[in-house]
Amino acid sequence: MKFAWKIALLVVALLAFGAARLRFEAKLGGELRDAGLFPPPLEIGTREKIGQTSSAVALGGLRTLVATFLNLRAFTFFTEQRWDDVEGTFETIVDLAPRTRYYWETGSWHMAYNAASYYLNDSKLPPLRRREAWRSSILKGRSFLERGARNNPDDWSIHANLGFLLSDTNKFPAFRDPNETFAAAADAYRKSVETGRALGYVRRAWFYALARVEGREAEALEIARGLYADGTHNHTPTLLMLLLVLEAHENPSMDVAQRAIGLFGTPEKAYEALSSHWRRTRERFPVFGVAAGLESLEKTLAIPAEQSVFNEPPPPPMGPDEWFSK
């Protein structure tokens, strides 16, 4: 047979072979994608950002390796405090390895915590610009984690980290509406718990966030009761205190002092717990019935007026207004 004929036959066979496998491969690709085993196609923007060589390596099936190298580069940018470069590099990294929890969490940590702290303390900028840069970094960190959560809905840790950020005393002043922020934090924690793999403290954190959402006290109380019934490992001072406060919200005529003694053991311990809660103003926990309970316990324990928690100097206000005043 002539060579040209052979080549022609080979081409026909190649096309027939290709046609036979086309649908199978498409189906298999779909199955692998559905199973989370297949990364989404590399964005053209990402290809441009990582350059020709890395792009070729990434397209050659080594996306995670390129992400590993970029992570090292991002760390160098972090040590040099080049925050825009850190952000840009992590944007590329998560395009390459969108299923890696570490990159989402580290990227948001650099933005919301490291960059934000840098702007908090960097005196080279005028206060107004520092404040805006601080807020912007935190918002970027939030947005980054939210994208991570959308890409990895079954990852308990990313959801939990989003919850931590939104309920962090030093961060939530960056968000405009506290009620919306605590609701979003509670939602993030709930999603983390619903994965079934979250560690025990995430469920408690869910409750702590929900307890601070105005209008959802009944829902929070139900969770608190469930946590309380779950075992003594959940009987943290914050949980017991919030359980008491939410019960007082549900039943305003409740004897808060008696219930506090029931929860904490003795009038002294109850007074100590209520006082601590009263002082935690920065965390914006609800305080239904706390004042009444303290007054009642002060009478029971005969606490002199000068030692009363009500007469303590209020804790210094600590928020962006004070942080960026100079």
Partner: protein, 308 residues
């Protein structure tokens, strides 16, 4: 007048293929290809030192370094196996022609298919042994490091008063990044991709005139093969984005001719801690065997009556 007598073939196809493959394997080993294992050992050990400062509690300790070991090791395995399978296969026929070994073999009653299959198996054996050695080294490093990370995390969690169930859950999370069956599956996927490349390089070398040509074309196909799925999607979703007829036909042609190497990128998911189901690996094996068989038979079809 004497009639031509055919020389009877001795032994089975299998034994002939085995003999040629063993010889090819020995021939390639003598080229000192295993020296790269020393480089791999350095990579596997060096990847241990890329532990960056962590930002959180016990759950974040060492999480990155385990992925770093897998990422570096599997990346190196992919590169080594693809380069090895392409270059070794591209060398086979020209070297046998140059050494005149080919004439000696073909003068004997050895079917040309047996010769090609034996050569290919020899390369695949070399790739397999190389990957097995690298896999052993990676698994050992990962096993040791996982143990260290788990111990470190447990100690930190206990110091922070974590309950036992939380420590157990953390341990399970970390062990998912250690050596497991999915990781071995990923190494096998690396082997499958290398096998396709070797058989494709064999096909190209049957009509190529030089080793360099075979190597360059094979590498090009390797990289373009990672876009095959995109071309296929353009064809299968034809018309949705308003593509022209020419674009659709071009995408179909690419999809039909090129292998889909993106399928084997499940390796990335395994590095990220995902489990690779046996069924998925089975289907990938089917794809790999399908390509390898087709390219081998196609090579034989071209090589069968080639004049030397």
């Amino acid at each position: 007048m004497s009639t031509p007598t055919s020389i009877p073939m001795q032994g089975s196809h299998f034994s002939r293929i085995l003999t040629i493959s063993t010889h090819t394997f020995t021939q390639l080993v003598r080229m000192k290809v295993f020296y790269f294992l020393a480089i791999f050992a350095v990579i596997a050990i060096a990847s241990n030192f890329f532990e960056l400062p962590q930002h959180e509690g016990p759950e974040a300790v060492g999480a990155n370094v385990l992925r770093s070991i897998k990422s570096w090791s599997l990346g190196a395995m992919t590169l080594f196996s693809v380069v090895l399978s392409i270059v070794a296969t591209a060398l086979l026929l020209p070297k046998d022609v140059e050494d005149r070994t080919l004439y000696t073999i073909l003068a004997k009653p050895v079917p040309r298919f047996d010769y090609l299959a034996g050569k290919l198996l020899g390369v695949l054996l070399l790739v397999f042994v190389s990957l097995a050695l690298m896999d052993g080294l990676m698994t050992a490093v990962l096993h040791i490091r996982t143990g260290m990370v788990v111990a470190e995390q447990t100690e930190m969690a206990q110091a922070m008063g974590w309950p036992q169930d939380a420590i157990a859950s953390l341990r399970a999370d970390t062990l998912a990044h250690g050596p497991d069956a999915s990781l071995q599956g990923a190494v096998f996927a690396v082997f499958l991709r290398a096998s396709i490349m070797a058989s494709l390089a064999l096909l190209i070398s049957t009509f190529s005139t030089s080793t360099l040509f075979t190597t360059i074309v094979s590498f090009l196909i390797y990289f373009i093969g990672h876009f095959q799925a995109d071309a296929r999607d353009v064809w299968l979703q034809a018309g949705q984005a308003g593509e022209g007829v020419f674009a659709r036909l071009a995408s179909l042609l690419l999809a039909l001719v090129l292998p889909d190497f993106q399928l084997f990128n499940v390796i990335d998911a395994v590095i990220q801690g995902e489990a690779l189901p046996l069924l998925a690996l089975g289907k990938l094996t089917l794809v790999g065997v399908y390509y390898a068989l087709f390219f081998t038979f196609a090579s034989w079809f071209i090589f069968a009556d080639k004049e030397f």
